[in-house]
Symmetry: none
């Protein structure tokens, strides 16, 4: 990213935009896209309704911006985590750690994100589902590269296609994280990423 000097005006604009999105995230994740009115968002963000429409073309655009920007943020954080080391196992550890942290800190957006990826999209018209799934696919590919290189290095046994392994790991992570999310008291937050990784690393059956 280019480091750009923003004018005071522009910085102010950006801050306002953030505030609007923050209010929207909270409301959408709490009540779902269709149960939140633009007036509600405006009120929560403490702006006039017209001001919201200066920043976002319409409700769909606001929602789409929100999801896409957040998804990019997540993937960026995860990509960075992976790149921090060259060791494949350590990469996976970092990935699980960072993913856990992101989930923990962004529970509300995560729900929206899953509604779009897995559930029936709120904004089919906006083509949001396609866009978000495409980004997901791209990230899965970078994750798959770790398995590929690990297999080449003989650090991993080849128990499946690298892309499949990436998908499997990602889903197991999600599963555990949701478990913790929904019942934090019964399912302790997985501080040690190996709790999750072990299921992959050691085979269930022998030796």
């Amino acid at each position: 990213m280019k480091v750009e000097k923003l004018s005071r005006r522009e910085r102010e604009k950006l801050r306002q935009r953030e505030e609007m999105l923050a209010a929207a995230i909270e409301l959408f994740s709490e009540k779902g896209y269709h149960n939140v009115s633009m007036h509600e968002i405006a009120k929560k963000a403490e702006f006039a309704i017209g001001t919201i429409y200066k920043f976002f073309k319409n409700k769909e655009d606001l929602y789409k911006s929100l999801i896409v920007e957040q998804a990019d943020m997540f993937h960026e954080a995860l990509t960075k985590a992976i790149e921090e080391t060259d060791d494949e196992i350590e990469k996976l550890r970092n990935y699980v750690k960072t993913k856990s942290a992101v989930f923990k800190d962004n529970i509300s957006v995560i729900r929206l994100y899953f509604a779009e990826t897995r559930g029936a999209s709120f904004n089919i018209k906006a083509g949001l589902d396609c866009e978000i799934r495409e980004r997901y696919g791209k990230f899965m590919h970078t994750l798959a590269l770790i398995f590929e290189s690990g297999i080449k290095n003989k650090r991993f046994r080849k128990i499946g296609r690298p892309y499949d392994l990436a998908v499997a790991l990602d889903n197991v992570c999600n599963g555990f994280l949701f478990l913790w999310l929904e019942a934090p008291e019964q399912n302790p937050y997985p501080k040690n990423p190996d709790v999750i990784l072990n299921i992959f690393f050691k085979g269930l059956i022998g030796p």
Copy 2:
């Protein structure tokens, strides 16, 4: 289930109810809860709008009934599959096989189901999310029992808490099935359940 003798009247009623739900499933999964009107459902099901309201208290109730009944149907099918044999490995194989079949045949409801379990629920007010997650939890427990007994039998190594293993398996399954769902041409439908199970059975690393 008790086998009850239903009068012709009652059987007729039940059939009508099914027709309504069938129309609703198609519409909801295609357009999402909030983009389908009760009139649309009534028209598709070929009933008067008032008749729909004789069967369901309101739109939320209709949706909730739909989701819950379908979820029960799925869990029933899976439970039956598990009970078909005593061998733990075979049980897991049956589970994966049946789950794949259910996904394949019910893509549309599955999407709605995931929107409710994972995403931001369409019907938070109705408490649908709670109810459906509870049922999911119950089923995870019966799945966990397989791992528990397998570990006791020494057929499985104890690489995690049984419940965690159940969750992990379920999520890996979902991951693969969505993969296939979204890009059937690139990701062949996993006919052999071992493609999925191997990731569990053989550990990634050694021996």
Copy 3:
């Protein structure tokens, strides 16, 4: 027009439609298309807003229906008046008489009609201006036929193209009628059509 037997239902529907249009005419002609809200119309017509939308697709549609139906009504009345006799001069007398009567009884719609024919159309998008001008053109043709036949019969001198004469007569009529409309006390309602026709019949200059 076919004489059709309408069911009680259908008659009731038609009556409601009339009531809605009547309320709309009054409001539109008093305040102009854009200064009347659908709620206002609904209230004046004593229907719920939703009911209005059952009868008319949208505001434009309501307005268009209104104008077109009224224009047809006018032209029908005028055509009938013309056809009542074979004598060309008498035909023109009937025309002027009927036109006066129609103006007198429908001042409000007439205003709307002229806004669409002459002024900047309220509903350009709806293509209303085109449609209404086309109908006007058609009627001018039937009016022109009177002059044509009169000229052939040697009852009229050929002082211009028949179509031009029709347009001229129509406009002189409008001029006089508006005069009366706007200041009834100064400009007596032209009971005798010859007041208007004389301007045509006797040339200004000579013989």
Copy 4:
């Protein structure tokens, strides 16, 4: 009009005002009063929205100024044309000629003008309709004076009240001009004013 020496400041102001009105005319006549926003006008005129409001109290005021000034311009041109000669017939010829030219060069404003005179006014609240009709009435009086003097001179036969004749002539003119305006290819632009005047001058029937 008093000839006043305007300061550079004042002249500059006047020029800006003209630019704003010019932009507004184009937009209003193309889309109609209610389909043009103040922002649009500001943009087209290349001024800030606030600057527009320094010149005009509000949208209505801008529109009213526009229409009234244009109407004055028209009437001034016509009055001047009438005054160019003393001969009554020549006066009428000049009137028709000038009116044709004005129509041809100002089609867009003419439409707005007619919407206000004849149709349902865009700005009833502003009392625009009254004001404009009053000016129209005044001009009709000066036109009537020609007929009056012509009748006194025995150049014209008295086939009606002078005011009525003025109205009739004006309306026949309008009729022909609109004819040409709407279908220029079928109705040639009346270069020779006598095409229009003959309808008045020679009586239809007789002599």
